[in-house]
Assembly symmetry: C2
Homo-oligomer: 71 residues x 2
DNA sequence: TAACAGGGTATGTTTTATCATACCATTAGA
DNA sequence: TCTAATGGTATGATAAAACATACCCTGTTA
């Protein structure tokens, strides 16, 4: 898998979980202290997200980081 | 889990898989095009590794990225 | 027709991951 | 003993993530 698609899938997984939890980008951002303007590139797969940012988001969404890597 | 321990565990998982495959840091680095001097901080959990770097390492080690997040 | 909420974009700044190279210590083999 | 391999450290440069703020568009609703 190429890096572009891989980042896109991670982002899509985050979006899926966020919507499943009925959270807006602002709400998620409030919980994990990340601005929505920074969450959007992550969900769109436009940024090469770091491990700790994934941890913050996973904690906020109450899932395992691994869940973002299940394709 | 705090970020420090989390990064350390990711690194330890990478080290475990690398040793299981009987690869040195240089050999792993050759496969995924990452200098051993840059792999060491990752394995030690001293750097906040990015998603694509984890993908490169996972590909080189022939495992899923998820495997690095199993604690 | 406001006003607001939601998703999304743009951008300048700061921080830091990655790259690349050089170097050190220890250990095993010739 | 010398050499090479291995793990590890240090560092300067470059690319880019994260931060923070401001702004735009669309749909909804008072």
């Amino acid at each position: 898998m190429n890096e572009k698609d891989y980042l896109k899938l991670i982002g899509q997984n985050i979006t899926k979980v966020r919507k499943r939890k009925n959270l807006t980008l602002v709400q998620l951002g409030d919980i994990c202290n990340i601005e929505k303007s920074n969450l959007i590139p992550i969900e769109k797969g436009r940024t090469n997200v770091t491990a700790t940012t994934l941890l913050k988001i996973a904690n906020a969404l109450e899932v395992d980081v691994q869940d973002f890597f299940k394709f």
